[in-house]
């Protein structure tokens, strides 16, 4: 009996080993090809820029102001996006479930419509005071971020039995604000973090809209300075990439830790999986 149960327990039967070894090799092959695809250009960029270029990035004219503008825009865009998308997504899930598909369709539009078309439309109808304000670009970014933010929030809401927990809160005396603050938001923390991460990453890397609207955001500054010093421009790009990546990893790790504590599963940028109840 022991001879039979031993290998089964560890999943190491001879036939099992044969069956699983092939896919494992292929997984590594795919992983290595993908890694090479992403890492070789980065390695080349690093070699082109050289380590010394990183030191001179900060001293370059416009570095601080363009970075500050990008951070400002990221903050503004994130706040507006969450303020618009969160109540909308919650309301649609609770009261208008039939509209969900329509809303999904609408939120995809910014991906389908080219940024140039959006900008032409926005500039044609935007009031004068907006045209001279950073808010204009932030509002355009809100449109761009909508598909990503909505999908993150939607994934979080789908993982919850929203209707039941809202009704449970109501029956216990919780009004709407209390229910939103104490019940819905804490359970959507992970989804909101995903939405924030995606929005911030999008704003920090967006070039076309900022350039066409004549804003010197960080990506635009990198492009402009590539004419003056290619090496510094590449070093700034790598620096921005590294800082953004670090930021995304930090939020993902924090969100996963919080999520595991309260029963959520692994957190990815587009999905929040919930652990199932353990039996009856």
């Amino acid at each position: 009996m022991a001879a039979i149960t031993g290998p089964r327990r560890f999943g190491l039967s001879a036939s099992g080993r044969q069956r699983t070894s092939k896919p494992v090799i292929w997984r590594w092959v795919v992983l290595l090809i993908t890694a090479a695809y992403f890492l070789i250009p980065l390695w080349s960029a690093l070699r082109f820029a050289g380590i010394s270029a990183f030191g001179s990035v900060i001293g370059f004219a416009g570095f601080g102001s363009s970075l500050w503008l990008s951070v400002k825009l990221a903050t503004l865009t994130t706040l507006i996006t969450i303020a618009l998308m969160l109540p909308t997504a919650v309301y649609v899930h609770l009261r208008l479930p039939k509209v969900r598909r329509l809303l999904e369709g609408i939120t995809i539009l910014p991906i389908v419509i080219p940024p140039v078309v959006l900008i032409v439309g926005v500039l044609a109808i935007a009031p004068g005071f907006l045209k001279s304000s950073d808010l204009l670009l932030a509002l355009e970014y809100v449109v761009l971020a909508m598909p990503f933010a909505y999908r993150s929030l939607d994934a979080g809401l789908r993982a919850l039995d929203l209707k039941t927990i809202v009704e449970a809160s109501n029956s216990l005396g919780g009004g709407w604000i209390t229910t939103l603050w104490r019940v819905i938001l804490p359970n959507l923390r992970t989804a909101m973090l995903s939405a924030v991460v995606l929005t911030v990453a999008l704003v920090l890397g967006e070039y076309t809209m900022a350039s066409l609207d004549l804003y010197q955001t960080f990506p635009v500054w990198i492009y402009v300075n590539s004419q003056a010093s290619g090496q510094v421009s590449v070093a700034a790009s790598l620096l921005a990439l590294f800082v953004t990546w670090l930021f995304l990893m930090l939020i993902t790790v924090l969100a996963t830790r919080q999520s595991r504590k309260t029963g959520g599963g692994q957190v990815t940028l587009f999905a929040v999986t919930r652990q199932e109840t353990r039996g009856n």
């Binding site: 449970a168 809160s169 216990l172 029963g263 109840t277 009856n280």
Partner: protein
């Protein structure tokens, strides 16, 4: 679990003393409730009176309107017509958050971001109880449902049965005027369901909380409720005590929905009698005989224990199946006319009734229910 219930007795007694008269003594009156969803009439003039401390179960098939009625009482749905009166006051316009009703839902409804203690304490927080009082009382309630050791666990760390017990403790923590149970056991397996229904009934009786319980499971309704209301197409077919419902069903629908019922072809006579199985028996009043014309073909409705059977040569039936159910054995008998009936016999007498045995099936002279022939 049984030991939990026994142990909980002291805790609940303590709670009842502490809670005072506010937790029981509430009457509920559903008056002519109607509700329509599109073309579907979910409720069609439903009226029920629930006495203080009583547990009334609403039983019926899917779509009969029982959950809609419960949700209207809870304040999650608004009735198109009619009213809900609690202790004589119309609460139709009162929002759910201010109705003071505890509810246990069909699906697991614990807040995933809170541990068991905080879940139970949530309603108390809404009632502005201080942190210490809240934790103490939530702890008492968890102890009452036998889950004190799990107080710091999050919902995903609890089993389905444990989650529903926490949900019950949470609903009771606010000392609700009315407890509403929306099929709280339907997601659980048979063994846990049986244990939990005993626990719910014990707690409800000890606390004396007026309770409305919705279920589609007749065993649950009959075993837990003081009275059971059977619903169909948004209307109440009959509301009565479990034994009355079983022994004296008011309509053919109730008779067939509650328990096992045989349909035996018969012919209605003019004098309130029906000819069946070669004899005549009286028809029970209000059983639909008025709707049937004289000499009409009808079905006579009889419970498995209402038929008698004797082993004879060339009888009117042949035993086809024999199912052991413990103290009784259910015998399937094929009658002439291709009609199969189920007859219960004490298991000690069923040994001789092997499949293929010829038997004589007859009806006692008691009044029977009839229904139009299917």
């Amino acid at each position: 679990m049984t030991s939990n219930i026994a142990r909980d007795a002291a805790a609940t007694d303590g709670m009842r003393r502490a809670s005072g008269p506010g937790t029981h003594g509430t009457s509920v009156l559903l008056q002519d409730l109607s509700r329509t969803f599109g073309a579907t009439k979910a409720l069609d003039g439903l009226s029920i009176e629930i006495a203080p401390g009583e547990l009334v179960a609403l039983l019926g098939p899917s779509g009969c309107g029982k959950t809609t009625a419960l949700r209207i009482v809870a304040g999650f749905e608004a009735a198109d017509g009619g009213s809900v009166l609690v202790d004589g006051k119309d609460i139709s316009g009162v929002p759910a958050a201010r109705r003071d009703m505890g509810m246990v839902f069909q699906s697991y409804s614990l807040f995933p971001n809170m541990n068991a203690l905080d879940n139970v304490g949530f309603g108390l927080r809404m009632r502005k109880l201080s942190g210490g009082d809240r934790r103490r009382r939530a702890g008492e309630l968890l102890d009452m449902v036998g889950l004190a050791p799990q107080a710091r666990q999050y919902p995903h760390q609890l089993s389905g049965g444990q989650q529903q017990r926490v949900a019950l403790a949470r609903a009771l923590a606010i000392e609700p005027r009315v407890l509403l149970l929306d099929e709280p056991l339907s997601a659980l397996d048979a063994k846990v369901r049986l244990q939990l229904r005993e626990q719910i009934r014990t707690l409800q009786q000890r606390l004396g909380t007026t309770t409305l319980f919705v279920t589609h499971d007749q065993d649950e309704a009959l075993s837990m409720a003081d009275r059971v209301g059977v619903m169909r197409h948004g209307k109440l077919e009959q509301i009565a005590s479990p034994d009355e419902l079983y022994e004296r069903p008011a309509t053919a629908f109730v008779a067939e929905f509650v328990g096992v019922m045989n349909r035996i072809p018969g012919e209605l006579q003019g004098d309130g009698m029906v000819a069946v199985l070669g004899g005549t028996v009286p028809v029970q009043r209000d059983s639909g005989a008025d709707a049937c014309v004289e000499r009409a073909s009808v079905d006579v409705l009889v419970r498995p224990e209402g038929l008698t059977m004797q082993v004879v040569q060339n009888g009117n039936g042949i035993v086809t199946t024999r199912t052991f159910l413990g103290s009784v054995t259910r015998i399937g008998v094929l009658l002439s006319g291709d009609v199969t009936v189920q007859i219960d016999k004490p298991s000690s007498q069923a040994a001789a009734l092997a499949p293929g045995t010829s038997v004589a099936v007859s009806l006692p002279a008691d009044a029977v229910l009839i229904a139009p022939r299917l």
